[in-house]
C-alpha cells in the first residue's frame, strides 16, 4: 500500500519521476551528504500503525490514562483558566481553512488578515488602546517583550517589577531581560496590592499586574502611573482581558503598555496549549517602532470602498532586518487570536460585563465560604477577581484530602498556601461542595495533628512546584 500521507511513494510513480528528472535514484540527491554522516541503519522507532483505526486505538488508549476531566471538580488556575468556551469558538478554529493556513499574502489570505485585524481591534476596544499585536507565544513572553520595549523606548536599563507576579513568570522575565536590563523586585503590601516603591530616572518601567498572582485587583493604578511618569518611566501593566468588562482598562488610569495572556478568551486549557500573549500600546510612533511582533492594519485598495489589510511598519521586524530588527518574530499563536476575536464578538460589551460581574460575585462568595470553612483567606479585604489564596496548616495534606473526593482544590503556592480559582463555570453549588470538603478536611487534619502556628505567607518569589500542583 502506498502510504496515505505520501502520494508519490509508489514505485511506479517514483520511477517515472526519476526518469523525468533524469536521475538514477533518490540517493543521487543526497550525494552532498558525506558517507560518514549517513545513518547506516534504519531509525530505531516503535512499530507504526499502518491503519488509522489502530493508530486511534493506540492514542485513545494513551489518553485514557489521563483521569477523565469530567470526573474532577477543579479549582486550578494560576495562569491557565477554565472559562467556558462557546461552541462557535471551536467551530471557527477547527475550520480547515484557518487551521492549515500559514503565511500567505493579503490577497489569497484576505480572511485571515481580516480576522486577525478584527481580533486586535476588539482587544483595542477592551483595552482602550489603539495598537495591539498579532499574538505572541504567551503572557510570559508578552511581559518580557513589553519590558524590553520600555527599555528601548526610554533608553534605560532597569525595571521595577511587582513581587505579586507568578514565580515562573518572574524567572522568565529576569532571564529574558538579563543581557540588557536589570530587574528589581517591588514589595507587596499586606493588602496584596503593590507596596511602596521608589523609582528614579534610571528606571525604564514599573511593571505590575492586576489582578495579581493572588487575584487581587490593584486600586492605586493612577497613583502608580503618576509615580512612573514622574521619573520618565513607563507604566507596564499585566492583566487578563477577561476582567475588562467590569474593571477599568489600565490605559484609563495611565498604563503605557499593557500585556498578558488571552487564554481566557475562548481557549481550552489544553494542558498548557491554549496560551497566547498580547501587547498593547497607544498609537505612539516611537512605541509602535519597538514592537517586534507583526501588526496588522487596514488599508485602502485601488478600488474605492474596499478594505485591504497588511503589515503595519514591517521594517522593524527580524523578518525584514534579521538581528537589526526588534527582538524577533516568528510563528506564535495566531489562531488563538482569531478565536479570541470570535469570543469577543459573541460576548459583546454586555456579555463581558455580565461575565465579569458573575466572576467577581462568585469569587467573593467562595472567599467567604472558605473562610467559613476554616481556611484563612489572604488579602480578605481587597477586591479579588477569579483567584484568591488561602493559608492552611498543610497544603499538601489538604489538597490530597480534597483529591480523595474528586476535587482539585487549588494550586499549591507554598507549604501552607493554596491558590483557589473560581470562574463562571463554578456554580455556587460547586463552591459549596468545595467548602464542605475543605471544612471536613481541615477538621480531620486538626484532629490528626496539633494545630501549628499561623502560617507565614509564602515569599512571593518562592519557586512554584515544577509543573504539577500536588
Amino acid at each position: 500500500m502506498t502510504h496515505p500521507y505520501i502520494p508519490n511513494a509508489g514505485p511506479e510513480t517514483r520511477a517515472a519521476m526519476l526518469a523525468e528528472i533524469g536521475a538514477p535514484d533518490v540517493a543521487e540527491f543526497y550525494r552532498d551528504i558525506p558517507a560518514d554522516l549517513r545513518l547506516d541503519r534504519p531509525l530505531d522507532l516503535p512499530e507504526p500503525f499502518a491503519d488509522e483505526q489502530g493508530l486511534t486505538r493506540h492514542l485513545r488508549g494513551l489518553l485514557a490514562r489521563n483521569t477523565d476531566p469530567a470526573a474532577l471538580l477543579s479549582f486550578l488556575g494560576h495562569g491557565c483558566y477554565p472559562h467556558y468556551v462557546p461552541a462557535v469558538c471551536d467551530e471557527v478554529n477547527g475550520r480547515g481553512e484557518f487551521l492549515t493556513a500559514y503565511a500567505g499574502e493579503p490577497y489569497a489570505d484576505h480572511g485571515r488578515f481580516q480576522a486577525l485585524f478584527e481580533y486586535v481591534s476588539m482587544m483595542a476596544e477592551l483595552l482602550e488602546m489603539d495598537v495591539v499585536n498579532v499574538p505572541t507565544y504567551d503572557g510570559y513572553q508578552a511581559a518580557g517583550t513589553a519590558l524590553r520595549m520600555a527599555a528601548r523606548r526610554t533608553g534605560r536599563a532597569r525595571v521595577m517589577v511587582s513581587g505579586a507576579t507568578a514565580a515562573d513568570k518572574l524567572a522568565k522575565i529576569r532571564d529574558y531581560l538579563a543581557p540588557d536590563v536589570e530587574v528589581l523586585l517591588a514589595p507587596v503590601a499586606d493588602s496584596g496590592e503593590l507596596g511602596e516603591v521608589r523609582l528614579d530616572d534610571t528606571f525604564a518601567a514599573l511593571y505590575l499586574e492586576t489582578p495579581t498572582v493572588h487575584g487581587v485587583v490593584e486600586t492605586r493604578g493612577r497613583e502608580l502611573a503618576e509615580l512612573a511618569h514622574g521619573v520618565g518611566a513607563l507604566l507596564v501593566v499585566g492583566t487578563d482581558p477577561i476582567s475588562l468588562g467590569v474593571l477599568a482598562p489600565p490605559a484609563s488610569w495611565g498604563a503605557d503598555l499593557v500585556c498578558g495572556d488571552i487564554q481566557s478568551l475562548g481557549m481550552h486549557p489544553q494542558y498548557g496549549g491554549g496560551q497566547a500573549g498580547f501587547i498593547a500600546s497607544h498609537d505612539d510612533e516611537r512605541l509602535v517602532a519597538e514592537f517586534p511582533s507583526r501588526l496588522f492594519g487596514i488599508a485602502p485598495t485601488e478600488v474605492p470602498g474596499e478594505y485591504g489589510f497588511g503589515d503595519v511598519f514591517y521594517d522593524r521586524t527580524s523578518f525584514a532586518l534579521r538581528e537589526e530588527g526588534k527582538e524577533w518574530v516568528g510563528t506564535a499563536a495566531a489562531l488563538w487570536g482569531i478565536t479570541a476575536g470570535v469570543y469577543l464578538a459573541l460576548m459583546g460589551p454586555q456579555g463581558m460585563r455580565e461575565l465579569g460581574e458573575t466572576i467577581l460575585a462568585r469569587t467573593r462568595y467562595a472567599m467567604r465560604a472558605l473562610a467559613a470553612a476554616g481556611a484563612v483567606v489572604r488579602h480578605q479585604e481587597s477586591v479579588h477577581f477569579r483567584e484568591f489564596a488561602v493559608e492552611v496548616p498543610d497544603a499538601d495534606a489538604l489538597l490530597a484530602a480534597l483529591r480523595g473526593r474528586g476535587i482539585l482544590g487549588g494550586v499549591r503556592l507554598g507549604p501552607r498556601e493554596v491558590l483557589v480559582c473560581v470562574t463562571e463555570q463554578h456554580s455556587v453549588a460547586d463552591i459549596d461542595t468545595l467548602a464542605a470538603a475543605v471544612r471536613d478536611a481541615l477538621t480531620a487534619l486538626a484532629a490528626a495533628a496539633p494545630a501549628p502556628a499561623p502560617a507565614a505567607p509564602a515569599a512571593p518569589d518562592a519557586p512554584a512546584a515544577p509543573g504539577a500542583a500536588t
Binding site: P46, F98, L126, D130, Q275, G297, G305
Partner: protein, 496 residues
Amino acid sequence: WDEEIVFELSRPGRRGVGVPAPEAPLVELPEGVARRTPPALPELSQNQVVRHYLRLSQETLGADFTIDVGQGTCTMKYSPKVNDSFARDPRVAALHPLQPEDTVQGVLEIYWRLEQILREISGMARVSLQPGAGSAAIYANIAMIRAYHAARGEGEQRDQVITTMFSHPSNAACAKVAGYEVITLMPDAEGNPDIEALRAAVGPRTAALMITNPEDTGIFNPRIREFVELVHTAGGLACYDQANANGILGITRARDAGFDLCHFNLHKTFSTPHACGGPAAGACGVSEALVPFLPGPVVDRAGDSFTLTVPERSVGKIRPFLGVTPNVVRAYAWVMALGARGLREVAETAVLNNNYLLAKVARIPGASVPWARRRRVEQVRYSWQRLAEETGVHSEEIGIRAADFGVHYWTSHHPYVVPEPFTLEPTESYSREDLDEYAAILAHVADEARKDPEFVRGAPYRQTVHRIDPTALDDPAQWSPSWRAYLRKHGAKRPG
C-alpha cells in the same frame, strides 16, 4: 464574499451567547477600579457571528485547499485530520497544566514517547518539547548556550554568535536578544556558507555557531562537520537549526555531525497544522553536556509512571507549563502512523518531489536556479532575475498574480541575496499532478509577464480585494493597526 468589518455588523442590544447569572451578591467596585464606559465591542447575534467568521474562513487559502508548495521553507505538509481528533479530545483539551501528575499520566507518556523518538531522529541525549514554536526553540537553545558558558566561567568572554545568511533570521535575532554580537557568513561561489569566513570569525569570543543545513537554498553543506569542528576547537558550541529537516529524516542526524544542540519545528517536519501562524511547537535536542541546562520541567519515566523534573541548572521556563500539548500529541501520532520506514519515505519523497519540481521550473523561460549545478534536498530558492530584466515584472508581482490561480507563492526572507527570489518546497504531501499544475501556473504567469507586463502588475484580479496601497501601512499619520485607530484617522466608515 464582500464581508464587512465585524464592527459594521453591530446593532445595539444583540448578543452572541449568554452568560451565567451571578447566583451570588454582586460586588461593588471602588471608584476608579470599575469600568465606566462599556467597551465598544460589536453586538451580533450568534448566527451573524458564525456567518461572518465562516465567510472569512472561506477567504483564507489553507493548505487543505491548495497545492501548497509555494511557501518554501515553511514545509507545508498534510496535517492528518485524525490527529486533530486527538488534540480535541477532552482528555487533552480540558486538562489543566497544573493537575496532579497521576491524573495526567497519558499525556506525560506521550511527551516522553515523543522525546524518545526525537532523540533517535537527532541522536541527541535529551529533547525538550516546551518551546512554543521554532524561534522560541532557537531562543531556548541560545539561552542554554549562554548558561553553559556562564557555568564554565566563560560567559563574559564568549560574546559572539556566528550564523549564515541562509539560516532563518531568528537565529541572528534571538542571539542578539540573548546579548550576543552576531556574525553572519555569506555564501561562497558554490552556495555553501563560506568556510574561510568562518575560520576568520571563530575564536575565544565565539559562543556558538547557529546554522541551518540544508540551508534555505536547499543546498546541503557537505563540509558541515568541518564547520562544527572549527567551532568546537575554538571552544564554542554548534547549534543546528533543523527547520529544514524534512528531507533528511533518517538519512543523517544532528549529533552524528557533532552538533551540541538542535531544534525541530513540529509544525513543519512533524505535520502539526500551521494555524495561521501558530500555535506551533518546537523541540530542542541537546547533547549530554547540555542536559542539565534544559528548560524545565522535563518528563522522566520511573517504571510505568511518568514524572516531571526540573533539570539541575535549567534555564527555566521558555513558556508557561510543559509545552504546546495538542501539537505534541499530533506530532506523536504522525510519527506513529509512519514509523522508521515511513519517515524515510517522507524524506525521500520530499526530496524526489523537490527535484522533480526543480526540473520542471528550470525549463520555464526566465526562471533560473542559483548555484544550478548543486544538488538540492528539500527546497530550492529560485530566481526570476532574467524575467525581471526582460519584462520589468518583479517576483512579488508574479506571486500576487499566482494567487489568482489559487496558490501561494513566497519570495524569501529579506535581504534578497538571491535576486528576484522565490522559494518552493513541495514536501512529500503533493502528487506528481499537483507539481505539474504548480509549474504550469508559474509558466503561465511568466508567459503573461512577457506578453503583457502591465497585466501581471495589475493583479490580483480574482481575489476578494484589489491591489492594496502600502503607503497607508507605513505612514504613522495614516496607519491603522485597529478599527478605533482607523475611525480616528480616517473618520468615514469606508475609505475613499
